[in-house]
Point group: D3
Chain length 137, copies 6
């Protein structure tokens, strides 16, 4: 019974800034530099969602990627796309939206919604040069 | 003795449809949607072939990637490129060509042919947004 | 009044083969090689649709790219995605689906539907290494 | 004396929203949809800057691309990167930051600074699927 | 009779340095900086070869891209791939291998070999951020 | 306490050849083929540097990627970019610069410099089709 990992990529375009409200403005600027710019900047984020399991004998699917895409649309793209990650998103309240914190928050949203196979890895690209991965550890 | 993984990407352009002959046409349409279109559709597939081992002291190679490319041409590209994955390929007879089933089938073809290092991981891209990985588990 | 060109990329995955029914099978094989394989192969096509004009003073748009995307979905993606370009598409009847013939056929479908600005250039990618461009000349 | 076009790509990550202050909120929402979200969203922009001329006999350069990169850093990247295009940028005051309006505004900034060869074309990517081009017409 | 442009991309990996032998070492260093490093550096070059013409009624081809690929292999890839552009290439003798000079030199090699349609444009990528285009002007 | 992996990509353009000085020229040519060309060839290398750890409660960072970029500039880009990997680099003396040997050598340079989180994986791309990965095993 082979264990296969299937991955689906989704995209969202969002504004954010890095800012810890428990620190002074000077500390925030010193820690986060340009990423702390007060009026936000933004990114074309790409999230790769990996689900692992045994392909179903009837369908040949670990998980129907169309269903995974619909889940990802509802849980990730609808709340995050064309939004401000500091101000607009319920599941990010109180979270400084670094790529590390974002990938963990996305994991928590997706985990209960993956019912065929198991959520295995998320990779979140912030720019073409930076990404974060989380596997639930 | 470092363990290094080297990867070579190969490409093939093929037609396929998702279809389980044990199910009715209505069930196939319901399960696979557009991917069940009767006259096939197709993809530019990309297969990343990863081989792991200790670099040879004389060559600095885990495996000569030119030899891996020749192996991949013989085992993967020649039988699959410009072919119909449902009709034309001996090693896919009776297999519903989902990306999950394809990556496992490619593994079985490649495994006995990798003689330097060991086959470690296959990643098969079906579109720029979907891929499957298999590590022999 | 600046003249700006905006481009939107759409994708479709389709099967095809190159075949001229006025020629013998032997001539077809000689002319088209693997691209003439009888049971079809396929590609992840990408079509870049460029529209040129003056940005509207009220919207700043040459053309609302969401509207262009809807038009492209109706005219290009819906009829071509997950289809067989030799068998399934009304506007390709009798056309040998080379990338050159396809880009001209797409132009003819899109031209009357672009009503803001003017259709300026189509670029159709068949593989990452091959594409055709047409500007209506 | 060959005429060659050299292109340099630069990147900036910025927040924006589409909004015409002369229109009501309802009209803005109707025209711009999600792109009008009040708290901004953002993109990883890529700007391709093309300069055309005859390669200099001494250097073989149309324009030293390192100098073009320094110019682009000063004129484009420094004012736009990690900024809000609606609020933070002097040369965008009063401009609705559609990709069309942005590419024309960048042209006006760059034109007087290209002193070797002549500015020939800008291509501004907003997402991997959308871009605008301007050639000064 | 539509005019269509087809493009084929080929690749070569080569070493080079920028150096004008008519200048002093100090002048070369000042003009070319790191690109003048004495022991060479290198690139994964990509050349896009565009041919323009009317698709042939019998084949649907402006030019058989397999034939164009064979021509490009013989004229461009075989002499340049895994070579030193300052030392190893007959058709580059005496040419400072800037991307501008290289694209013009490739044009001169390819022009007499394109016999179906006409050579229309070359685009030579030196890095993912830099390229030069030449159209024979 | 989630374990997250963050990755930063850096680039360098370098010349090299594959050559084992303990072997004869004929053996080298036989083993390495074109990669043994005497006057070098070159590549646009890309190195993905992955660091793993728990995001800091104060910053949300596993490691400040700007600091990682500065480290990578000092340790990898400055010594390798626009250099000859066989002749110019202290930490590659006596090493045949295969992609396997290079990725291990880069690991040894980076390991003592990553002080926040731990160096987790390097992936070194030599061409768009070949890469090597090393995780310190």
């Amino acid at each position: 019974m082979p264990q296969v990992t299937v991955t689906r990529r989704v995209r969202f375009n969002a504004a954010h800034r890095l800012h810890n409200p428990d620190l002074s403005d000077a500390e925030n600027r010193q820690l986060f530099g340009l990423c702390n710019s007060p009026n936000f900047h933004g990114h074309n984020y790409e999230l790769e969602i990996a689900v692992r399991g045994t392909p179903d004998a009837r369908t040949g699917y670990v998980m129907d990627l169309s269903e995974l895409a619909r889940t990802a649309d509802a849980v990730i793209v609808e709340p995050l796309d064309h939004r401000n990650l500091n101000l607009d998103v319920d599941f990010l309240r109180g979270i400084n939206p670094t790529v590390e914190n974002l990938v963990v928050a996305c994991w928590r949203e997706l985990l209960p919604r993956v019912t065929s196979g198991r959520l295995y890895r998320l990779r979140l690209w912030e720019t073409e040069n930076n990404y974060a991965e989380y596997e639930g550890d």
